[in-house]
Symmetry: C2
């Protein structure tokens, strides 16, 4: 089924594929694929080059969690840090994910014109990602190469999880006769963009700010929200779920990376066992906080 | 000489190296190294793989302009679009630039925590760039891995050259008892950061907005400003120079990419001749608009 939006094709939108994956796995879990070689099991580091080690690690993580995750999210920074080898591993990682699970590239893109076209061509077409995170500061036209794609997702940074996110995001902006925080204005803009562009729009809101998340959800009741910061950054998971779940009890991609990828390991040979256990625990904590008998 | 700022070392700051290069070349010209294979001379495309073709093109451009440019600026998007081969070419391009000319990576980075650390380690240490462009939306702490480097430059996106840059950047923000556009608040923040962080701070302001540039310059009288949009984007060069030059008649990196890289070519074998001619013309137009008998 098409999405009924401008430019939509017969194929499913990113939001539809995400919903299908969430319902199929009964899970809102987004597993971040952020390789940190220093924390890899020793068996993956020995005798391998960087690209091989990253691919071996991600292969293990994906195999251990692909029935638990409804989206995978590699962060470009962890791959670019290794130059060519990292990019090679990123492209291969995309191919490792089963086809029914969407893959969101966390690149926080923000550039204009022909450069933005280049990023969109690279991330969507050459590398085959289903969605990207983008930065809104350069304006709607800067995002056009992403927004015009009916089959893709564009997840816009709104309120980030870091302590200093308020520097700009909390600035009071004047909208008509009222003042509101900049991140709320961003949420309203993205909601409006979602009605006039073919792509599936979404927002990034950190789990460290549940009050702000609730205000974003009020302004964007039907947009998927990527929720980082529940793991190593110690955001409040239950408060964030109460604040961020949509009317169907879904609408969130609850993202954890380090907390799942690098649990305490007792046996190097079985390093994926605690990875899987950490993913199960988080999936179940999420589901326990969702209202009973809803769709996904 | 050190910069006298917190954390400064005995080595020169990015701003000092930039000033030295500008004075040495008597030029404020920044040459953008944005490879577009479809526009390369045929001799560079035939029989070469992508990385070789890009390196051959950049080698020719750098050789033809290194006495005319005071900074080179590759834009990451043009390299990432080619995956591994592009990254390989980008790293090699960095090595091609003579040591006395700083190289600014236009990556518009914006991420947090350990990811931002990864980008800084990659761009500054592994790849050896002297400065990067960054996006301010995620706040001061997101930029800390860049800001704490006394030898590096951090050029913050402020008012971009695209038609829709005002979507967020022109929003009216309340600062105490007055309202001002968000990009001016960004300029004031960056000015304040420049006094408490070791790195050299700067701003990006598009040449398509000379009035806004003048307002930024008033708030940041001593920061270097990267001025894109004078070439293919058809900003007003002379108006921008009047608005943006600092009290010494310098303080700008006037950036052109396509207008220099891809002039009409009559003889494929001598393709660098019109490249050099375009760079000379722009350098001279810039110098003609600068006050006489000033430093650089």
């Amino acid at each position: 089924v098409g999405s009924g939006k401008p430019g939509a094709t017969a194929g499913p939108s990113f939001q539809q594929r995400l919903l299908r994956a969430q319902q199929g796995a009964h899970s809102l879990l987004c597993v971040g694929l952020d390789p940190d070689l220093a924390r890899f099991p020793a068996s993956l580091r020995n005798g391998k080059d960087v690209a091989e080690a990253i691919v071996a690690f991600n292969t293990g993580v994906i195999a251990a969690t692909s029935d638990l995750a409804s989206v995978f999210k590699p962060n470009l920074g962890f791959y670019l840090a290794h130059g060519e080898a990292g990019i090679s591993a990123l492209v291969e990682t995309r191919r490792l994910v089963p086809r029914h699970i969407p893959v969101l590239l966390d690149a926080k893109v923000g550039d204009i014109g022909i450069t933005a076209e280049g990023y969109a061509a690279g991330y969507f077409d050459a590398w085959g990602f289903d969605a990207v995170t983008v930065n809104p500061y350069l304006g709607e036209d800067s995002l056009e190469p992403f927004l015009r794609r009916p089959d893709k997702g564009v997840i816009v940074v709104c309120k980030t999880s870091n302590p200093g996110s308020g520097d700009l995001q909390d600035l009071s902006t004047r909208m008509g006769d009222r003042d509101q925080a900049l991140f709320l204005t961003v949420a309203e803009r993205v909601r409006a963009w979602s009605e006039r562009w073919p792509a599936s729009l979404g927002l990034v809101v950190g789990a460290t700010y549940p009050t702000e998340l609730e205000a974003v959800r009020r302004r964007a009741p039907d947009l998927p929200i990527l929720l980082p910061g529940v793991g190593a950054q110690a955001g409040d998971l239950e408060a964030s779920l109460r604040a961020g779940l949509d009317a169907t009890g879904g609408g969130l991609m609850v993202s954890a990376s380090r907390a799942i990828l690098y649990p305490p390991v007792s046996d190097d040979a079985d390093w994926t066992v605690p990875v899987r256990a950490a993913a199960i625990e988080l999936r179940d904590r999420i589901n326990a906080a969702r209202p009973a008998r809803v769709g996904a």
